[in-house]
């Protein structure tokens, strides 16, 4: 028997006759049975809903687990590459103390680059995780984007040819470190995708009240059908047939998020004679517009 009322069973006799004790007992038993059946039906419906909800939860969990698995595979591959180089060069230097100082300097140079690369990859992974948790901070101050570009070009140009076509000061509000991170990433990508003997060009312009930086290479560019997925996490295949291994799949995603956090836009453009052209557009400070 239930301990609560879930409905009412109303009966009456047309002739106005009163029910007998036996009839009332029978009716009570009938009402109890009906109530139980009704409660069961309600329970079933609730159970069905819960099973459905559980199913959905399980599906979400599976998708999340898959995403996590993909993330781990992608990350371990990415970290594995510099790690392989570091181990091989350290092994080599250790086992061959007689190698001359030129070779030693060359190998130490490689080691330094690969350690930097590893540090950058780890930084990207941490940033991506901060973004996911909503803890990614942009510390904006008044700055000149022209100086930021200059710093980045000087850092990179010790290794490869990068040409900066300036248009003078570009006063914006932004986080200098984060914007450097974006530019470094774009320039690195351009160097990787462009032919080794061609310089990467960073071209600055002022357009419609915005500072625009275009990072241009003479590589194969980005196929139109891949532009959409370029800024998603773990999409290192943006340039099919050219590179399936070198990007973290995080660099462009993070760059895009950083630029968005500055109220700007990161986009891929097509320019005659160029391959990949990535444009960063940031609003100029009010007084400069």
């Amino acid at each position: 028997m239930l301990d609560r009322v879930i409905g009412t069973l109303a009966l009456g006799d047309r002739a106005g006759r009163r029910y007998t004790e036996e009839e009332l007992v029978l009716l009570e038993a009938l009402a109890d049975q009906g109530a139980l059946a009704l409660a069961n039906a309600q329970l079933h419906a609730r159970l069905r809903e819960q099973v459905h909800a559980f199913h959905q939860l399980a599906q979400t969990a599976t998708a999340a687990a898959q995403a996590k698995e993909d993330f781990l595979v992608s990350v371990s591959h990415e970290l594995g590459t510099p790690l392989t180089a570091i181990k091989a060069y350290v092994d080599t230097l250790e086992a061959n103390p007689e190698i001359d100082r030129w070779l030693r300097a060359e190998f130490l140079g490689v080691l330094k680059r690969e350690v930097d690369r590893l540090a950058r990859l780890i930084g990207n992974i941490l940033d991506a995780s901060r973004l996911e948790l909503g803890r990614f901070a942009v510390d904006a101050t008044d700055l000149d984007l022209h100086t930021v570009v200059g710093d980045v070009v000087r850092t990179v140009a010790t290794r490869r040819l990068v040409r900066y076509e300036t248009c003078g000061p570009l006063p914006v509000k932004g986080d200098a470190d984060r914007l450097k991170q974006v530019l470094l990433n774009l320039v690195d990508n351009a160097l990787r995708h462009g032919p080794p003997d061609e310089p990467v060009v960073v071209r600055a312009a002022v357009e419609r009240g915005c500072a625009v930086l275009r990072v241009c290479d003479r590589g194969p560019g980005v196929a139109a059908e891949h532009v959409g997925e370029l800024f998603q996490k773990f999409q290192p295949l943006g340039r099919p047939g050219v590179d399936q291994r070198s990007a973290t799949g995080l660099g462009l995603y993070l760059s895009n998020e950083i630029v968005k956090a500055h109220g700007g836009v990161l986009r891929v453009e097509q320019h005659q004679g160029w391959g990949g052209v990535f444009a960063v557009e940031l609003p100029l400070r009010e007084e400069a517009r």
């Binding site: 591959h77 594995g80 181990k87 091989a88 690969e114 399936q244």
Partner: protein
């Protein structure tokens, strides 16, 4: 002097392969993608191919498949080197040996010497 073709798109790793091969008294040719590998084999038949698997243009699996399918190249030993620990698949696809990255340099040298013997 034996001739080894290194197919590796990561310049720093290709360079260290080359260093050790030359140190062992071999001649090394380095290419950075699968298509260039097939072209290099056609130009000059190597005694051994060190083959990375994740490569631009044509991946290492496809390169191995084509090498094994052509009578002229089927007997060239291939040492697969990859970050993917897939030794069984590697050997099944015709590789003579398989090395997982990160690797110990002495393992690389030992495998190369064994395959060139």
């Amino acid at each position: 002097m034996k001739h080894v073709l290194v197919v590796e798109d990561e310049p720093s790793i290709a360079r260290i392969f080359q260093f050790h091969l030359e140190r062992q008294g071999h001649r090394a040719t380095v290419v950075g993608d699968g298509e260039a590998a097939l072209a290099a084999v056609e130009t000059r038949r190597p005694d051994l191919i060190v083959l990375d698997l994740l490569l631009p243009k044509l991946d290492g699996w496809a390169v191995a498949e084509r090498l094994k399918a052509a009578p002229a190249t089927t007997s060239i030993p291939v040492l697969m080197v990859s970050i993917v620990a897939d030794r069984d698949r590697g050997l099944a696809s015709g590789a003579a040996d398989y090395l997982t990255k990160p690797f110990a340099v002495e393992d690389f040298v030992a495998k190369v010497e064994r395959l060139l013997r």
